[in-house]
């Protein structure tokens, strides 16, 4: 009999569809494959289907159609076997607040079938790695949001899964913890663990993921390496102007080479072709519109710009 672990992808998704009746949102005809040792990013704005896909793959909800296999195991017919092969971090992790952080993690580790001694050893190492060792005996309800996220990461990783499903894992983590988390993910990938991470943290996905898929309104619209996506925008630039005051920027779209103008919080972001003098023209346009520029940056294109180019919509929601 063939060894399915060596021949099967870590995750194989075929034509998965699931729509919520209440909102109409979900995923449609989605297929993808993640190989062992690969870090695969899922990007898309809120409501694009990232969390729905992870809910289906985690076996929390069943798809209306389609199939998926985790390490060769049918995720619909052999759900408990599939669950044993994966580590899961949901977007809003919760814990038993009256148990200590260590007790929460231990309960999960043992629920995944880890031996007592091994569980204690691995958890000690992970608590230390993520800087939670000194808080391990505090009740989980005293944890900050970021500490709760780190505890959820530990719970997802401790039992040595073949596939990690992570939903917005670094949101709420401080910078040092984000770096530690990214390093750990790369270490796990080097050891053969497949990682599917839903995230809109552009820097993180570019730095960490081997491949990335863009979701738009429940459908997979593009799939490739971060480098290939970004290099496809060679010749374009992103001018980010921080303004003291809001301005009517419609006239900027008439500047030759400007492709799109959008606000991102207090910033005005101008996507434009790379040509001599375009920055000066954009700045002049802003000043003419009454803008008081407090900061200006010209950046290379990112995955966020790729998404804008593909869909005409922003990847992230920004507060006005």
């Amino acid at each position: 009999m063939a060894d399915t672990r060596k021949t099967s992808p870590a995750l194989e998704v075929r034509n998965v569809a699931r729509r919520y009746k209440s909102s109409g949102r979900g995923v449609e005809g989605l297929s993808l494959t993640v190989e062992p040792g690969e870090v695969f990013g899922l990007m898309g704005p809120n409501g694009s289907g990232k969390s729905t896909l992870l809910r289906v793959l985690s076996t929390a909800i069943a798809p209306e159609s389609g199939t998926f296999r985790i390490g060769g195991v049918d995720g619909l017919k052999e759900r408990r076997k599939a669950r044993a092969k994966m580590g899961l971090m949901v977007d809003r992790p919760t814990h038993y607040g009256d148990l200590t952080g260590r007790a929460n993690a231990y309960l999960f580790a043992r629920s995944y079938g880890m031996e007592e001694g091994k569980a204690e050893g691995v958890l000690e190492e992970l608590f230390d790695y993520f800087g939670l060792a000194e808080y391990g005996d505090d009740r989980a309800k005293t944890y900050s949001y970021g500490m709760g996220k780190k505890l959820a990461l530990i719970e997802a990783m401790a039992h040595g899964p073949e596939l990690l499903l992570l939903d917005e894992p670094s949101l709420g983590l401080d910078y040092t913890s984000q770096l530690a988390y990214q390093k750990k993910i790369r270490e796990l990938a080097a050891a053969g663990v497949a990682v599917l991470v839903a995230s809109n943290q552009v820097d993180e996905v570019e730095a960490m993921c081997d491949r990335v898929a863009f979701l738009h309104r429940g459908r997979l619209i593009a799939l490739g390496t971060p480098e290939s996506f970004v290099s496809s925008l060679e010749g374009t630039r992103r001018i980010v102007a921080t303004l003291r005051n809001p301005v009517e920027y419609g006239a900027l779209e008439g500047v030759p080479g400007v492709e799109r103008v959008a606000t991102e919080g207090r910033d005005l972001v101008v996507h434009c072709a790379q040509r001599p003098g375009i920055v000066a023209d954009v700045v002049a346009g802003l000043i003419d519109a009454g803008g008081d520029i407090t900061d200006l940056a010209v950046r290379r294109p990112s995955l966020e710009d790729v998404y804008v180019k593909l869909t005409g919509e922003a990847l992230r929601d920004y507060e006005a």
Binding site: Y20, S22, R55, S58, T59, A60, I61, R80, K81, R83, A84, L88, V90, R92, P93, T94, H95, Y96, D98, L99, T100, R102, A103, Y106, L107, F108, R110, S111, Y112, G113, E116, A119
Partner: protein, 242 residues
């Protein structure tokens, strides 16, 4: 065997039960506060038995139902259900540990009743077993209700709607000497056997509807069937609700 850190769902509940000392004190005192005044008073035996029975029924139903809906709302129980553990096993553990913890809460008050109302050992044992079977049954009802609502307030409402007719059929207050179909229905409610055994403990052995043998056998069978039934609801109960 160590409870903390917990390596099983039931140990988590046991750890939480024993870890909060003030809450534990209240949990242990409130059944005593309700039952002991009744036990020392000279109210008719059938009503004394009814009060003990009501405390057991309420403790069981609301305990499991409310803590379950709270954990379901929190999302933590759904997350636990995404481990390789069987959802039926998780529900069984919830049921078993809640029934045992409820029993531990009631036991001091029951022991005081037995001290204040000396009764034949067989009736003492029958009453104790009857209370436990009632707690299992009541917890089954609480878990069953949690299948249909995620609101602890709704649990109170639904539980009242389910318990009121069962308490009537069991003959706690009215319908103490049922005949015909009412008597047949009574045979299928574990609360009734507990009520008979408690009446015997409070001095109405001659008027108890059941004999000790029946109290040891029938409510056990009925509670086991109900427990099996609610465990089957595990996959539905522990799935996310959108």
């Amino acid at each position: 065997m160590r409870l903390n850190p917990p390596d099983a769902y039931w140990k988590k509940d046991a750890t939480l039960f024993f870890s909060k000392r003030f809450a534990l004190l209240i949990k242990m005192i409130y059944p005593m506060a309700l039952i002991v005044p009744v036990a020392v008073s000279d109210i008719p035996a059938q009503y004394a038995a009814a009060v003990v029975g009501i405390v057991a029924v309420m403790a069981g139903t609301f305990g499991a139902g409310e803590s379950l809906t709270a954990d379901l709302n929190d999302g933590i129980l759904v997350r636990i259900a995404l481990t390789p553990l069987s959802p039926r096993r998780i529900v069984f553990e919830i049921l078993a540990i809640n029934a045992v913890l409820d029993f531990i809460q009631l036991l001091p008050a029951l022991l005081l009743v037995y001290v204040l109302h000396p009764a034949p050992l067989v009736w003492v044992l029958a009453a104790t077993f009857g209370v436990f079977a009632t707690l299992v049954t009541a917890n089954c009802i609480g878990i069953f209700i949690a299948n249909f609502t995620s609101s602890p307030a709704d649990v109170l409402l639904y539980a009242t709607a389910i318990l009121a007719p069962l308490i009537y059929v069991s003959g706690f207050f009215r319908n103490q000497n049922p005949t015909g179909i009412s008597a047949t229905l009574r045979d299928f409610v574990p609360f009734a056997y507990m009520n008979d055994a408690l009446k015997a403990v409070f001095g109405l052995a001659g008027e108890a509807g059941a004999v000790p043998f029946e109290v040891f056998v029938y409510p056990g069978i009925i509670a086991a069937v109900l427990a099996f039934g609610v465990c089957l609801t595990g996959p539905r109960l522990l799935s996310p609700r959108f």
